[in-house]
């Protein structure tokens, strides 16, 4: 099953390699990993998407908690949560296709943020499945480049993951 683990970790050099090293050493897989500082500059937030059965996920969370730099973590998949991913897509355009691409972007609630005579750059956020659907709606060869952030997430409701 897919799990999205949100981690608060000391914002120290090497913190990222402690986490990624743990995954490679123990043979767990990482689908995506995002890291950025939080409102408290001494803390970083990592959002990690992984897959595994219940036993593996239990070990992953226990092993992560065991890392001295990890302050707190939560498996967002255990409760109702929101998930978003950012994508930037560079799409080939021609005089004839520009209108069609523009309407596709509107349907998917994206934004065109760069225009050249032969291309658009589209910014889009949403669940990963929506981003997949957008990319798949273009003919092969029309996409120049896709850049995705990997999902990040937050739980619904008043409660949050903080110190």
């Amino acid at each position: 099953m897919r799990h999205i683990i949100s981690i608060l970790i000391e914002n120290e050099s090497g913190a990222l390699s402690r986490v990624s090293g743990l995954f490679s050493a123990r043979g767990y897989n990482i689908e995506s990993l995002t890291v950025a500082p939080t409102e408290d500059p001494t803390l970083s937030r990592m959002t990690l998407v992984t897959r595994g059965n219940d036993e593996i996920i239990e070990q992953i969370t226990k092993q992560l908690n065991k890392l001295i730099d990890v302050v707190k973590l939560i498996d967002l998949a255990e409760a109702v949560h929101l998930e978003r991913e950012l994508m930037l897509v560079k799409i080939k355009t021609t005089q004839e296709s520009r209108e069609e691409v523009k309407s596709m972007v509107e349907i998917f609630r994206g934004k065109i943020i760069d225009v050249t005579p032969n291309s658009y750059v589209v910014e889009m956020t949403g669940q990963s499945s929506k981003l997949d659907a957008f990319v798949q709606s273009f003919a092969e060869g029309s996409i120049i480049e896709v850049v995705r952030s990997g999902p990040t997430g937050i739980s619904r409701g008043e409660k949050g993951l903080h110190l």
Binding site: S17, R18, G21, I68
Partner: protein, 578 residues
Amino acid sequence: MELSGGQILVQCLKDEGVEFVFGYPGGSVLHIYDAIFHQDDVKHILVRHEQGATHSADAYARATGKPGVVLVTSGPGATNAVTGIATAYMDSIPMVILSGQVPSPVIGSDAFQEVDTVGITRPCVKHNFLVKDVNQLAETIKKAFYVASTGRPGPVLVDIPKDITDPNIKVPYHYPKKVSMRSYNPVVVGHKGQIKKAVEMLLAARRPIIYSGGGVILGEASRELTELTRLLGYPITNTLMGLGGYPATDKQFVGMLGMHGTYEANMAMHESDVILAVGARFDDRVTGKLDEFCPYAKIIHIDIDPASISKTVRVDIPIVGDVKPVLELMIELIKDNKHIQPKPVLDAWWELINSWRDVKCLEYDRNSPLIKPQYVVEQLYQVTRGDAYITSDVGQHQMYAAQFYPFDKPRRWINSGGLGTMGFGLPAAIGVKLAFPDADVACITGEASIQMCIQELSTALQFNAPVKIVNLNNRYMGMVRQWQEFSYQSRYSQSYMDTIPDFVKLAEAYGHVGILVEKPEDVRGALEEAFKLKDRTVFLDFITDRTENVYPMIEAGKGHHDMKLRVAPGAPADRELS
């Protein structure tokens, strides 16, 4: 008080109550060594190879319970220490390693003797630090000792760039008495509800067994474990790391379990209906084939590390906490409980266990004209009255030591269980002897293992650590040869060395005493002679039976009930099958 970084480091060690630092100097730690030169409180033990430093410090910690301290230089100093750090990590031994690093401004430039020590050691330390500011040095050292010795202990490395210890830069010194870290709060108190449930399950058991490991030794809980076991009247088995956690000469002790455990311990595990696992981690050498592990048992598991619980074997009642207070509470609850299993139920279980004991799985040929390694260990036990500190290397001799030297006290059996590091025994013996100069310390080893850290014979002489080396010399890497005999149709690929040194001359060359023993009738006398030479390191070279194997054995991929025995159960005890 204003001190330089080098002085701060030494002062921190003093304030931490450190007796010994095991180390080896080099470019990046010269400022620190200069600070060591100016004081006498912390004794520096100069090893002959950094691996030796880590094993000595590790064994010092295993024998005393206090963290061992290592000091090495950058680059090769640090990489040589890695084997010993990983050894300590696998067995959860508290250790603080101070490593020099190239000066901060040149880190990352491939400077002379530069390696990414923090990166290299990351997977085999409990935690590590790179010191970036001399003002942070004292606090970082305090944190290192705190993390190393609390919770599930382990090695902690502090990497110190040379500029941090610059004698010209002095800063105010303050060593914190206590330190707290928001990201590190080891659980110490077990859940009371879980403990109650566990006690109920234990008392209702019909075929119970207690299986205890190194956590009992590390958690100083052998007294509580012994009290609980005697109160219940249940059989108890120890892991390799747990030997001495319960007195091995007691009638409730059924021996070590696992790959080379006793028939009675493994059979009792296999047939049990309730297992109380105390500070043990269901290691693969203990469990054998997981699918066949204890098929009838409900399992209660006490461990300070939540990640050890249900890692390989799913348990029914997990208790996360320090073993000592958990066992104390269990004892209290059992004393209050009226529902103790009627005596006949337990008697029937003991009857079964005693029938397994009757197999006498550890018997060996006592009439052999060759020296049997088991006999040497038995005689060592007699000569030292069972009261020595025994270190070992890794292989057959390690198993003979575990099987034939019953340990009645914790911290007496010092071996590399998890990582299985050959070369551990001699430096370990030195570390123990320094901690307990009046105690008998023997290193049970083989001619292959001993050569991996033989250079430490020199350290033993320089620092007056007279240990006894019991070399079970079978002219083979015995355990490798045994596996090759069983699983590779006796194709002894590279498990034999053609040019084994004359160990007597070698010992003498290092300034010690060497004794060659070739006949069984000379074993006892040689051991007695060696232990009479209180102030000398003695190298006893026992030429043992080349073909002797360790029995019982659970071969890889087999279950506890599927043991290879020297003599088949029920067969006359003198019939050799192998």
